[in-house]
Amino acid sequence: MRGKRSVPAYLSLMPFFAAFAIFMMLPILFTLGIAFTDWKGIGKFHFVGTQNFQYLLGDPLFWKSLLNTVVIGIMATVPCLVLATLVALGLNSTVRFSNTYRVAYLIPNITSLVAMGILFSSIFSSNFGIANALLNWIGLSPIRWMQTEWGIKVAISTLSCWSFVGYNSLLILAGLQSIDKQVYEAAHLDGAGPVRTFFSITLPLLRPIVIFVTIMSTIGSLQSFTEAQVMTSSQTSGSANAGGVGNSGLTMVLYFYSVAFQENRYGYGATIAWGVMIVVVIGTIINWYVTKERS
């Protein structure tokens, strides 16, 4: 359908591309420009060359936020994917109540992270809360979760993991259900047990969806903001104090937010945004290769 008919096609693309150009393309290009200035929100743009980028490379807080993001991301994503696979396997062979289960498992994912962040900071409260009640119940002494470097990370990653298990399990379930049943029958006839069947048949056939889920989880966790912001916010004002005790909950995007929108250092904030982008690209590539190698 060429020729004259392409006019309405262009017209139909206009609303989207207008929004896309104004609110996405131009801002992204502009961020690159601002990153070379020391702009603080008022006054003229003052070009400072690559000064911000040099500062970023030597900025201990940026590296700390990168390390925090990766550690929290791994602590959240790995258990989340394992649990999601188990839930998916359970749901795959279940016919009764399967829709009720799916709704129950998806509810954490649609619940606002702000609301859940507030709730989880009470669950991991130092003086009370369910987490310490559980520890007490099995005979361990309570932990001052939000006052220790690892406690904060555990609290944040538990929230991330909890909110994504159901979502990921439904994606994996979709992959499981696209596997041909005859493959399993053949394996069964060959005398393969359930564990062996899982590792030598199910997992390899699930690879495409596992790669997809892993990459999406990685990209998401490298940009995590809300959990850390809400759970460490009571002490926060400015980047030096952001992310709770010892900045141990400071993620890259939380650092970006504090520098740009709490301290109004827009020039350096824009540089951090580019840093986040480079990390996301590298993270995606690493993920791609790691999951590819396993064939």
């Binding site: 693309l13 609303p15 896309f20 609110f23 996405m24 839930v87 109540f97 003086n127 009640a133 912001q229």
Partner: protein
């Protein structure tokens, strides 16, 4: 919405389940029960935080310091509710959030479905280039655009207004990506050509042929967009500053910063913020789950 969406296979899965249970020997029943118990346990862990939020919202703030912590609802709901109402303008926030989420959803569905239809079914000069640009920005972190967006809103004088939240949401590419796939596979070119013979212009092809055949995918996009917009936090936190024009998430985070230890009130506020969305989700859950799994295996 629920009734219309759930009509696809009435009772089919139940009959199948019942038949297979009858055929199954008794010794297979035990693993079945164990599996259901585990799934049930997982589902309870999934829902427990919400339940606990509800429990805490019905207790006085001091209850949270008790040991063991309260596990059943108490009698403080009304007091907490009144304290939320007297501290923040929660009804205004709910109205604002609804207005933003509905506007974003309607606009995104219309704009994206129209563009996706063109990308899927029309060939025109620059199509691949345009689609390539959209897809290239799809995976970029959104923070790359945030600072200039804020600068733009300042220049336009939109800071503090709800339109500053609505319009940037229209630049997301997910809907295009999602619906283009669907239109390519589900709208048959022959049907479109027949409709052209009948004198249908672009708009009627889109409105009368393409949209009706993609009802499932469009519903999923609508629910997905609505949820995302309702829960959006970072950008509203940055750009909204008028106490009467805040969204629920921003109000909640302000409540927490200002009254961080009043857990009874905080949990009541959080409950008010999540409850409408959960009800909407349960009503549209079937469609949402079908869409989610359909898109994943494609």
């Amino acid at each position: 919405m629920g009734a219309a969406l759930s009509g696809s296979r009435p009772g089919a899965s139940h009959t199948e389940a019942w038949m297979s249970m009858r055929r199954r020997p008794v010794r297979k029943l035990v693993p079945q029960i164990v599996k259901h118990l585990l799934l049930l346990l997982g589902a309870l862990i999934s829902i427990f935080p919400l339940y606990w939020m509800f429990v805490l919202s019905t207790h006085d703030s001091s209850a949270i310091y008790k040991f063991p912590p309260p596990l059943v609802p108490g009698g403080g709901a009304a007091a907490n509710f009144n304290r939320v109402l007297s501290t923040v303008n929660v009804w205004a926030a709910m109205g604002n959030t609804t207005f933003v989420a509905v506007s974003v959803t309607v606009l995104v569905v219309l704009i994206d479905s129209m563009a996706a239809f063109s990308f899927a079914k029309y060939s025109f000069r620059g199509r691949n280039l345009l689609f390539g640009i959209v897809m290239a920005t799809f995976l970029l972190p959104s923070q790359l655009a945030t600072i200039p967006q804020f600068l733009m809103m300042t220049k336009l004088g939109w800071v503090g207004q709800l339109k500053a939240v609505i319009f940037p949401s229209l630049a997301g590419a997910f809907g295009i990506f999602w619906l283009r796939q669907y239109f390519m596979n589900s709208v048959q070119t022959e049907v479109l050509e027949a409709s052209i013979m009948d004198g249908c212009g672009f708009f009627r092809q889109y409105w009368n042929v393409a949209l009706p055949s993609a009802r499932g995918a469009v519903s999923f996009l609508a629910i997905f967009t609505f949820i995302g917009s309702w829960n959006d936090f970072m950008w509203p936190l940055i750009v909204l500053n008028d106490p009467n024009r805040l969204t629920l998430q921003v109000v909640l985070s302000q409540l927490q910063t200002a009254h961080g230890t009043d857990y009874g009130m905080l949990m009541m506020g959080a409950l008010i913020a999540v409850l409408p969305l959960i009800l909407i989700f349960i009503a549209g859950a079937r469609q949402f789950i079908a869409g989610l799994t359909e898109g994943a295996v494609r």
